[in-house]
Symmetry: C2
Subunit: 356 residues, 2 copies
């Protein structure tokens, strides 16, 4: 629904929710007791696998979760196949698993069904959702609310950011480092507050230049692959651009052949072990004649980028995606505006996706 | 390298290798002792996780492997993050895992490095490769050769098909059903032989109509998601189309907003538990005004598809992808021809990808 009072400018809900992210992140940090309780159970369980399930932005966040668990407690986490359990009813042993169901609304049907079945088979199940009274919250053993406040634009922004925060906080807790991560998240909130306005101005130039673009690649590797997936999804849903997320290496294994000067590439470069691969991939893209936009806290390392959108460096590299997704969100909003589209209500989408 | 003798027509290597697939598949089936030896070790190990690693077509095959292991022995298999282990050096326990490294050449640097590290940490490591003297073969505890014969076109075809076959055969062996799967694969080879010629004719009409297409989605779910990934990759690398693979559900979570009449969708519909989701997704695509091509053994179930490319039904549903990928391969070859491109040697790619 549009706001109750007064006329709405297209895209204003989406932009308002992007701007609200520093505050929404702080609200999540008020829920330390919930996170402590959940991580206590997880540490006792010592799961052989953490299974992350979600669709759309929640699935992009799950890609980040794989790294948060891999790098903090050193646990194996995976984006699990929902269809194996929900449609094929495969007889996979889940008793030794922790399951994290991710859904902004908490009403995504097959995520809820997956969590129910996994719980029935002995997994410890956690719902991470903005809908604390939702079907997902009812189905799971424990719920971590996103505390993002109502999100009205169809394209997720603050619920995505808070999902990343919840995942890294819970992974930090599993490693016995929950408080340190919470402190880092608090600092991210400040860094975002200080950066948002200048980023908004910076993306508008890029958006003007890209008004007629129909296809893009978004590349990121490692901890930033989830960010690449989320930025590509924003561009697809709000701007009708065919934007595909790729790891730096995937790009070299085929897609680079499709590039030309009409096919820009958005790169996410953060200062960590994956940076050299991203720098190399960007060099290949430029050699192929495509325009490069560089974002992330190591954006200035991308030589030959036509546009550079740096963000601050957080206290821990694993927190970088919470900052580097923001230029992508703002760019999607600005590009939708440049294309004359309404980023708040993309044609053909609704806020709660009930598709199986 | 082009063939040594005589002039070469653009795309003829790729087409010849697609046509050779029934014979290549039979050659793989001559290697029963190798498969029996490997599956014996796997059954003794009873791994908590099977970790599949590969890039490009090998990674598309890994998506299929997740289902082959989930549905046959009921084991958890995942496409593992290479960067977590190779670049971040995450301290994840791999001792309880079986690792399957997938690489046509056996020379993909980070796949080889991953396998070395996993072996050093106690995993049982298997290389599935056409390069039986390759670095991957040297690095792994055991090697399963693809027996596909030399593949000269840069875009993989017969090595992809044989990688699917090797994965499903090894998963069948882990379930104590290796011989039954081998019999099914033998039948697939016959079915392919009988179908290839008529499929070649059928795809040429679609290719003519799509000569100016610049972007496509390829949708498949469950066992056919890997097929969707492979078909999208073929279209991207040989035809310079921005073709993105999506599950039927992913499509509804955003990308459907980007569709219009200039944005055709290739659907893969096979008769199994995922079919209703694919049928629903195709209906949504048609409602959005996009053209649908239906392939797979349940192609005729897709109402309103403008082009229908059915393939035979195999003895076991899990073998469907070995048949349903073929219309996609042939279409990529025909579309490259219609666009005046050389499917054998796409610009910017080489047969052995050394990018990290």
């Amino acid at each position: 629904m549009p706001p109750a009072a007064g006329p709405r400018n297209p895209g204003e809900l989406f932009l308002a929710e992007i701007r609200e992210q520093p505050a929404a992140l702080l609200r999540l940090l008020d829920h330390k007791p919930d996170f402590d309780a959940v991580t206590k159970v997880m540490r006792e369980r010592r799961p052989s696998v953490v299974r992350l399930v979600g669709h759309g932005s929640s699935d992009a966040a799950a890609s980040f979760g794989v790294y948060a668990f891999g790098l903090l407690p050193g646990w194996t986490a995976m984006r699990d196949s929902i269809s194996l359990t929900v449609y094929y009813d495969a007889k996979i042993d889940l008793s030794d698993s922790v399951v994290i169901g991710l859904s902004q609304s908490g009403e995504t049907p097959d995520v809820v069904e997956y969590v129910k079945r996994a719980r029935g088979r002995g997994a410890f199940t956690i719902g991470i959702t903005n809908g604390t009274d939702s079907s997902l919250a009812l189905a799971a053993d424990a719920t971590l609310g996103l505390a993002a406040g109502p999100e009205r634009a169809v394209a997720a922004s603050k619920t995505f950011l808070n999902t990343l925060a919840a995942l890294v906080w819970v992974a930090g807790g599993a490693a016995g480092r929950g408080d340190e991560i919470a402190e880092g998240l608090r600092r991210v909130s400040n860094q975002l507050s200080e950066t948002l306005e200048s980023l908004e101005q910076a993306v508008s130039n890029v958006a003007m230049a890209f008004a007629y673009v129909g296809r893009m690649y978004v590349i990121g590797r490692g901890i930033e692959f989830g960010t690449a997936r989320e930025v590509a999804l924003k561009l697809t849903e709000t701007c009708r651009v065919a934007a595909e997320p790729l790891t730096a290496t995937d790009l070299a294994h085929g897609p680079i052949a499709a590039l030309d000067s009409m096919f820009p590439v958005w790169t996410i470069a953060s200062r960590d072990e994956s940076l050299p691969a991203v720098v190399e991939a960007a060099a290949r893209v430029i050699e192929a004649g495509a325009t490069v936009v560089a974002s992330g806290n190591a954006a200035t390392e991308i030589e030959g980028a036509l546009y550079v959108l740096p963000v601050p460096e957080p206290s821990h590299p694993i927190l970088s995606p919470l900052l580097s997704v923001v230029p992508g969100q703002l760019f999607a909003g600005a590009l939708a505006h440049a294309k004359g589209l309404d980023a708040d209500y993309p044609v053909g989408l609704s806020k709660v996706t009930r598709a199986r």
